[in-house]
């Protein structure tokens, strides 16, 4: 744990260097607004770092209840920290709370409006719920994998049920929030929405195209069109008569390129598709609880569940690609372009390559060191992932088995 903590702390510290080293013009121009949510994010992050180190390092030495209470601040500051950092990103989509002079310089800032910009509530909710989806399914997938290997004791069952239930509650909520957010994009960032739905020209009765791509001449080829669905989803009250603004309404220099549009559309399909699969898996799980009063135990369910964590991560990352690539060429929507924000320093490529090599090296070394440690611990006392000083007690608590082929790394 000390290793992961130290590696996490130092790689995180470097991020604050990178903002300036990579985006000096962006920070120089917008720092007074963009920095505000970060100042608060910093507080929550520090609190999280301090309490998580007390929680981890104090595990064996503090009294159980004292130790428990050191863990209580963690989810609170975690959620607040996530909301603040998403607020900074949301501000890039919806740059409000700043007054500019005729030269375009920031002369006045309303910090509350910057933090609580129009994009923030839905984006923050979407990300925080995504974190629960990913966290729940990821932890559950490790237990599912262990159960597939025959470790169906009380400990693994509890571990799976708690984690999977979190993911399975979060995923339907996530679909609702995501739907609202998409409608926000439809109303406020029409060219991003046009990229998402692959709409070259403004029209009504727009089909929802699954897969497929946009050609350089503005035609759409491939894919499975579902007639009228994109229009209907954009505003159910007007149904398929809803007009969806096309890419052509925005000058070419101010909208995503054809390639970017295709990336956005593909990632959108991945996000919605995988999200729906996770939702179906959650339905399976809840159906079993309703009809059989127990979690599904078939090998097929566990096989799929053991992949759910990775699928959830891909879903979330695809969503971020939609959000970020869809905003191109802007870094601050309709205010500053990416090319004007980045560093002009020629050394940046050298440092970029060095950073990649360094982080690859770090990742490999961390995994090697952790594997080495876990092997040593097992040799020492034969205890494994259920070696906790306190926790749920149950019928199989006494039947702890020495871990020989576990999945913990």
């Amino acid at each position: 744990m000390a290793v992961t903590f130290a590696v996490g702390a130092v790689t995180g510290t470097v991020l604050t260097f990178e903002f300036g080293l990579l985006w000096p013009r962006f920070m120089g121009h917008w720092g007074e607004a963009f920095g505000v949510p970060f100042a608060f994010e910093g507080i929550f992050f520090f609190t999280e770092a301090i309490f998580i180190s007390i929680y981890i390092y104090g595990w064996r030495r503090l009294r159980p209840w004292a130790h428990f209470w050191t863990g209580v601040p963690l989810p609170v500051v975690g959620v607040l920290g996530a909301a603040s950092v998403v607020a900074a990103n949301a501000w890039m989509n919806s740059p409000q709370g700043v007054t500019l002079n005729s030269a375009g310089e920031v002369v006045d800032v309303d910090p509350l409006r910057v933090i609580f910009n129009d994009a923030m509530p839905l984006m923050a909710a979407h990300m925080i719920i995504a974190a629960y989806v990913v966290g729940g399914f990821l932890v559950a997938s490790i237990y599912a994998f262990a159960m597939l290997r025959g470790r169906r004791d009380h400990y693994h069952r509890i571990g799976f049920i708690i984690a999977f239930s979190v993911g399975a509650v979060a995923i339907p909520i996530q679909m609702g929030v995501g739907d609202s957010l998409a409608r926000w994009v439809y109303n406020n960032q029409p060219e991003k929405f046009a990229a998402i739905e692959l709409v070259p020209e403004t029209e009504s009765d727009v089909p929802e195209t699954l897969l497929g791509h946009l050609n350089s001449d503005g035609t759409v080829s491939g894919g499975i069109p579902i007639p009228g669905l994109a229009s209907w989803l954009s505003d159910p009250s007007t149904g398929k008569d809803t007009v969806v603004q096309g890419l052509d309404t925005v000058p070419e220099s101010d909208r995503p390129t054809i390639r970017e549009v295709n990336v956005v559309h593909l990632c959108w399909d991945i996000m919605v598709g995988f999200g729906t699969l996770l939702f179906l898996l959650a339905l399976w799980y809840w159906a079993c609880w309703v009809f059989r009063r127990d979690m599904p135990k078939s090998r097929w369910f566990l096989r799929i569940a053991s992949l759910a964590g990775i699928v959830a991560i891909i879903t979330m990352e695809a969503g971020w690609v939609v959000s970020e690539v869809g905003r191109q060429p802007w870094i601050v929507y309709n205010k500053m372009k990416v090319e004007d924000a980045a560093t002009a320093n020629t050394g940046v490529w050298i440092t970029f390559i060095l950073v990649i090599l360094l982080y690859l090296g770090l990742a490999v070394t961390t995994v090697l060191v952790l594997r080495n440690m876990s092997r040593r611990y097992r040799l020492q006392d034969g205890s494994g992932d259920d070696d906790v000083p306190y926790g749920p007690s149950g019928p199989n608590q006494a039947a702890r088995e020495p871990v020989g082929d576990g999945v913990t790394v």
Binding site: T13, H29, G42, F45, T47, R61, D108, A344, N372
Partner: protein
């Protein structure tokens, strides 16, 4: 308002120098401890004295950057554009240092331990040097205002930057040696107590000499800061010299806690002295604090965040520190 935020910024810089500095200094002594055989005893003390948990000290650095880019964005852009090279090196050094120190604690084989140890120790010296060089570059007016880039090399390879770099390395070495005397004593190792006491005195003498040489360097290369140091910041310079000397006297008399506090005072007053000397410039002599400052709304938000920081983070840090001192937070790894 901008003055308040600038003061907050400098308090954080001082805190980083005093708390984070000692961690880097420990790496300096690790580097000079000699071969695997001979250096085993001092490295043992160093390993026990700073846990990987102390990477948490980088919160000060993060805080400094966040306040700088939010409160003084133009200065932040100028600094990162001009000092791209030393800041990049420092960033790499921080990653390599923290990671290799944690790795070293967990491996058994001498060869691998030596490799990780070497990376930890070398980067522990390079990072404070780069930070000092950055401070020197700012103090000597190498960073132009207006979010423009100064010269990528001569901005930090010049007399004042070299002075800043060397002074930073010597200062953190001195701080660490004083702390390590105390840690060796807690571990009940009189041999190591003597070992680090000698080094603390050595580092203090070198720091004194560097500071004396520095006066001439600053006079020639950074006249605005020199004028400040010899006038309004003079009391702080004197205080630093007095604290440094007094801490050595206490160290020789075995009054370790007092020595520790005075050593912190010596380093802190130099850092604060730098800030007072270049007042009221953010970037001497092209950008004043008032001109560099963000609009009032932003500054108020920073102030609110700082108050929250003092109310929430500082007590948290105190708990962490107390638990660590009571050995309630044991490390894993090779013990």
């Amino acid at each position: 308002m901008s003055t308040t935020i600038a003061v907050i910024l400098f308090v954080a810089v001082t805190a980083y120098a005093v708390f984070g500095g000692a961690d880097f200094g420990a790496g300096f002594w690790d580097l000079l401890a000699g071969g695997a055989e001979r250096g085993n005893a001092p490295r043992e003390v160093i390993d026990r004295s700073i846990g990987p948990v102390w990477e948490a000290n980088h919160v000060w650095l993060i805080f400094i950057f966040v306040v700088l880019w939010t409160g003084f964005p133009e200065a932040y852009a100028s600094i990162t554009l001009t000092l791209f090279v030393p800041l990049s090196i420092a960033a790499f050094g921080i990653v390599l240092r923290g990671a290799s120190f944690a790795f070293r604690k967990t491996v058994y084989r001498t060869g691998v331990r030596r490799d990780f140890g070497a990376v930890f120790a070398i980067s522990s010296v390079i990072v404070p040097y780069c930070m000092g060089a950055v401070a020197g570059a700012i103090a000597s007016g190498q960073v132009p205002a207006g979010g423009k880039a100064g010269d990528p090399w001569s901005s930090w390879v010049n007399p004042t930057s070299v002075l800043g770099g060397v002074l930073a390395v010597v200062a953190v070495a001195y701080l660490a040696a004083v702390y390590l005397v105390w840690d060796a004593r807690r571990l009940g190792d009189p041999g190591m107590e003597r070992y680090f006491r000698l080094r603390a005195i050595g580092a203090a003498v070198v720091a004194g000499v560097t500071a004396l040489v520095g006066i001439f360097v600053l006079d020639a290369d950074a006249s605005y800061v020199f004028d400040g140091l010899t006038s309004r910041a003079l009391p702080l310079v004197v205080a630093s010299a007095l604290c440094g000397t007094a801490s050595l006297v206490l160290l020789l008399r075995d009054a370790h806690i007092g020595a520790r506090i005075l050593a912190m005072g010596a380093v802190a007053s130099v850092v604060v002295g730098w800030g007072v000397a270049q007042w009221d410039y953010m970037l001497p002599t092209s950008l004043t604090v008032a001109d560099a400052a963000a609009p009032t709304g932003t500054l108020q938000a920073i102030l609110a965040a700082t108050i929250l920081f003092v109310l929430v983070v500082v007590p948290g840090f105190a708990i962490l520190y107390t638990l660590d001192q009571k050995s309630l937070l044991p490390d894993e790894g090779v013990d």
